[in-house]
Subunit: 120 residues, 2 copies
DNA sequence: AAGGTATTTAACCATCCGGTTGAATATGAG
DNA sequence: CTCATATTCAACCGGATGGTTAAATACCTT
């Protein structure tokens, strides 16, 4: 159902542990075991979290002996930012227009009725 | 489990229908019935979606006769943008530093061995 | 070949989530 | 009061999700 990229990214970041992992990876690459260490959950659970982040394109892996370090892919953030900014801007523009309209109405003499369709 | 605001917001936007509703609300307020019209799902399902958006602070309601128009609250986007931008910046900075380091190494004379412990 | 470390897979479980139908509530119109 | 409209609440269902334990895989070391 949620196979589009944006859904995967938002969904991945909806979990606090996963956001935490992203925050940790922003300071440098790390292995599953290193990432799992601070948490109480098993390393398998963290492995699953990383799978989710990977499927969302937020994390990539490499190989280095037995280890498989995780690397944060920052570009994916753009996708979110673009979406967010678009609708925020629209909503704020609309708000600004409404605000201007109200100011305009406010400027009129209050003796007149509220201008309910002043036909013609 | 996920009662923090950021989780609620990301989780709310992880659903395509809900993102669609947000997009729709960015162009103007609308009632549940109006919002439900374009979709195949029942109006109850849309009502639930709106509840989720409301709990995340993305949408507010008012009353107007029987209707309860939905209004998009754009400020909440800031929370996400801040979080996203923070880690993107960190990751990009790190990338830039690594890039610079590689360039620096690249500038060295290639006649020398790759500087990996010149043992034996 | 044998053993240790890092990681994933498999099977399972409880809970959450998005959807349904059906009944309840709230408000306005006759 | 009664009816119609708008919305929510309640109970239920199937599939996803986050967690577990136990076993398998991958790679290095000896």
């Amino acid at each position: 159902m949620t196979d589009d990229r944006l859904s995967l990214v938002f969904s991945a970041l909806a979990d606090p542990t996963r956001r935490d992992i992203v925050a940790r990876l922003a300071t440098g690459d790390a292995t599953v075991n290193e990432l799992a260490e601070p948490y109480e959950v098993t390393v398998q659970a963290v492995s699953k979290h990383i799978k989710v982040l990977q499927d969302a394109g937020l994390v990539s892996r490499s190989r280095e002996a037995q280890r498989r370090p995780c690397h944060l892919e920052a570009e994916v953030f753009d996708l979110m930012t673009k979406w967010i900014e678009r609708y925020r801007r629209e909503a704020e523009d609309r708000f600004r227009r409404l605000d201007a309209l109200l100011e305009q109405l406010d400027a009129r003499p209050t003796t007149e009725p509220p201008a309910k369709e002043a036909a013609s």
